[in-house]
Symmetry: C2
Subunit: 163 residues, 2 copies
DNA sequence: ATGTTTAGTTGTACCATGCAACTATTATAT
DNA sequence: ATATAATAGTTGCATGGTACAACTAAACAT
């Protein structure tokens, strides 16, 4: 622990606020794009990482497999992904983004980017890049932390932010 | 718009991940502290800003007043806040943190700070402080944005993050 | 005085989530 | 080989956080 308590207190506070705002935005975001965040993230991941099982998705996003199952079912019902039985293991369904799904994904990604562009128009490029780097580092830190916690203390474990 | 599209794309991506992790932590956090985030934030705000009406809390956190009403009712039922009728306006209840509530608040704040201390032990103080500043700036940016949006386009409006 | 705004409550609905119980399939151990 | 475990996935149920709409009561405006 080489961090000053003041900074930690501020981090703690800003995190709580950030998360609160993020939740507040859920409905507005959904209204603006027609895709909820989970759907968007799943779609992104499937788009970039080829066909994957539900279990693999659940692991990636640290979701309960039941949640991943429901989310993919919802994606499937909208026609954004297709599932095919794995040839190697009949328990496994492999999910793949359809062309409709990738169309949605690109559409929403562009809306998201426009949003951030507008939101951060007063920021300098340097600040934005800096924030981005630190945010990435933070996400990585949280991921490592919760993985190491899983090994030590069974499931659940971590709590990266303000609840 | 003076930001590079690459950085915006990365921000967009890291935000989505960040929010996802934040949501994943809700249960773990509650288990660790016994207070959910909303409760914690409300309590913090009431602790720092004296007796406030439900409407004032709703405005601060950009919550529907019905949500704020329920959350404060929950706080009250746990004995963390007390309400007194406003002498000036019989419609208004003024909420105030009880000693039990402030005890809880300080306890949870300390757990949260310990968590962040442990989480970020590999970060330098400079990095942490930098991240904190940028996060604060970001929160402020989002707040300004959603306020200006409210004036232009009616309610709802903004979407600060990845859904 | 009467109509309008405001503070707050309550009913209802929604989404994201987890846990537990279950099925179907695969892997392991003897 | 067969019985026992482990794994992938689904579904039922519960919870938390949220909004919207309909309502009550009080205050304000004219």
């Amino acid at each position: 622990m080489n961090n000053d308590i003041d900074v930690l207190h501020r981090i703690e506070h800003e995190m709580a606020i950030f998360i609160r705002r993020a939740e507040a935005a859920r409905i507005a975001y959904f209204n603006a794009t027609g895709l909820d965040r989970s759907t968007y993230l799943l779609l992104t991941h499937l788009y970039d990482n080829g066909p994957l099982s539900i279990k693999a998705l659940a692991d990636t996003f640290q979701l309960d497999i039941s949640t991943a199952s429901r989310q993919t079912a919802s994606l499937e019902s909208k026609g954004y992904v297709e599932r095919t039985a794995s040839p190697k293991d009949a328990r496994v369904s492999l999910l793949q983004v359809t062309s409709s799904g990738s169309g949605q994904l690109l559409r929403v990604r562009s809306i998201r980017q426009s949003f951030y562009t507008e939101l951060m128009q007063e920021w300098t490029l340097e600040e934005t890049a800096n924030f981005c780097d630190l945010l990435q580092k933070f996400n990585q830190t949280v991921e490592n932390y919760s993985k190491s916690n899983k090994n030590n203390c069974g499931k659940g474990g971590s709590s990266p932010d303000g609840q």
